[in-house]
Point group: C2
Chain length 352, copies 2
């Protein structure tokens, strides 16, 4: 390479890749993806990890298990509709459910900041206990560390979970085919908007902005019963539905086209998102599933979801096409089509 | 209660129980213990958790699994003999090994601070990969979150692990009996002293201060082969050997007496501890096991450990007595006896 032409000079006056960690590396955007691709996957490579699912499928003795972990650093700790503790339980329960497993056991590791009121910790722990009871999982092991004031932010919780895989279930984007249908189990964007409103004290946006955090194992189970051909299942958290579907499309080697008017968004959330200048496709959910199912099982799947209190607003939102792999686009009501490009980083940091 | 006599006035001018989290709550001392007893155990109670082992034993299908988690917040990130990444892998491997399990799968969840050099992350990840290869475990799932500058401290890593329990193995302090023997697999205090020396730049204490961090699954395996009657196994990390043995004694309903001259401590560590005014019994190890074995299997156990590179300095250090439950004491070479009282909090914070 000639000295006069460094590799980045042609189109960009600065290297794009930052040499330090930025908030974007923790989002659901392209920087997160790159960190995974360039740092974690090459170093730790093994068959279970390389599948890049939210939960790994591992074999222990005669059984197939799902195994998953997530750290929760949401700020503020308490927000309308939930708190960090509830999120930490539901988040891992949902990753297990999306692998087609029945969630069974959780671990909980706390990193506490010196000076945290004990009462705050008690509230979060009580909330975790309630969430675990609701999801029918047991928190069987844990750990607590404390860091000095100014070296943490109140409470971080990392939960890991083990689930028992349903016999015969094999969910993976690689099973998707052109013609398959994309379903979502309810309205989009509720969690991200509720946390942002709480963080910036945007009470004016209305009392109806509440996180949708919920355990989704029952919705997953009812889907797999009603549509046994289900290809794959995701809970579209960080990066929103767009991040989940872009990943599915890339791994499936398909394109995905969504119908804009089919995307369920409440009026309150839509209003708030318009004020914030955000796209509902990019905002985190903590109580919604998206699934890719064969077209002939879509109606049965939708009926199963709509019969559950957490799935009443379930909708068919798009279809898989044979076009360029990884392409996600939205068909507008006027017949136009826009391509959805994942941003480098999430517009809403620390929402989970 | 009379207004003139608040409950704490008789012996102490201030309430002892702090209403906020202090660094002591993250130590291996009594405050940690109290937090467990008063906050976590009552809220999450279930049979696996209530056994209070470092790893929970759970049943999945036909198999018994060990499941464990730990967050690692050591400061500095790199220290002589190891780093946070290596510690995070070995720590969870060792908790599984102490349950009598063969470590199999790990998860790794990262909380990164904005501004962390990518190169630092790469070094830690490479170190984790090497440690996982050495311990023959696969890191199969993970997560990354980023918090703003000043809301974290470089890198925190939480690992969780799954191990397959050896058939027939049932390790628990409740199986201990008076007359049983206490063994340690090597010298005490190396890790805690090495981290403190690195933190305070105490190069003057000598180049030989190195963390003992190591995976202990082979030592655990050789012990269980040589001494199948082994009652229980611990890796004495935070709070040192004293915390591990106090817990064993309390759960066993026994007392434990150590012989001071039998405790293996290198001259370098002993010198450093004397300068710091610390007791080797209270300082963390990250590459040592302690075991309670029946007296007639102690020689076989010691021989097995001494035959392994990580167990060459293994020693018989004490015996269990029928005296008051939970009492840990040290017999001095001059025939005196001192009771070991766990401090409220660890004298060395953030060493793991």
């Amino acid at each position: 390479m000639s000295e006069a032409a460094p590799p980045w000079s042609a189109s960009c006056p600065l290297p794009i890749e930052p040499e330090v960690i930025t908030l974007g590396h923790g989002s659901g955007g392209r920087l997160s993806h790159r960190l995974q691709e360039e740092v974690f996957l090459p170093a730790f490579s093994n068959p279970a990890l390389d599948r890049r699912e939210d939960a790994a499928v591992v074999v222990a003795g005669a059984d197939r298990l799902a195994f998953s972990t997530d750290s929760f650093v949401v700020s503020p700790l308490f927000f309308p509709g939930g708190d960090l503790g509830e999120l930490a339980v539901n988040g891992t329960v949902n990753d297990l459910a999306c692998a087609g497993a029945e969630p069974r056991y959780l671990s909980a590791a706390f990193v506490l900041e010196e000076g945290l009121p004990l009462e705050t910790l008690r509230r979060l722990v009580a909330s975790m206990a309630r969430a675990a009871a609701r999801a029918q999982v047991a928190i069987v092991t844990g750990d607590t560390k404390v860091v000095e004031r100014g070296k943490g932010d109140g409470v971080f919780v990392t939960t890991s979970g083990i689930g028992a895989l349903r016999p015969g279930v094999e969910l993976s984007p690689r099973r998707c085919q052109p013609g398959d249908v994309v379903l979502v189990s309810g309205t989009l964007g509720d969690h991200g908007v509720a946390v942002m409103a709480a963080r910036h004290d945007l009470g004016l946006l209305g009392d109806e902005l509440r996180s949708d955090t919920a355990p989704l194992h029952e919705l997953a189970r009812s889907l797999l019963d009603a549509a046994p051909g289900t290809r794959c299942l995701r809970d579209p958290t960080r990066g929103g539905l767009a991040a989940a579907l872009t990943e599915i499309a890339a791994q499936a080697g398909c394109s995905i086209e969504l119908a804009e008017e089919a995307l369920p968004v409440t009026d309150t959330v839509r209003g708030a998102l318009e004020l914030m200048g955000l796209d509902p496709l990019l905002v985190a959910n903590e109580g919604k599933l998206c699934a890719v199912v064969p077209a002939d099982q879509a109606d049965a799947a939708l009926a199963a979801w709509r019969g559950h209190p957490l799935g009443r607003a379930a909708a068919r939102v798009g279809t898989l096409g044979a076009e360029r792999s990884g392409l996600l686009s939205v068909r507008t009501p006027f017949g136009g089509r826009r391509t959805v490009i994942l941003p480098l980083s999430d517009p809403l940091p620390r929402i989970c």
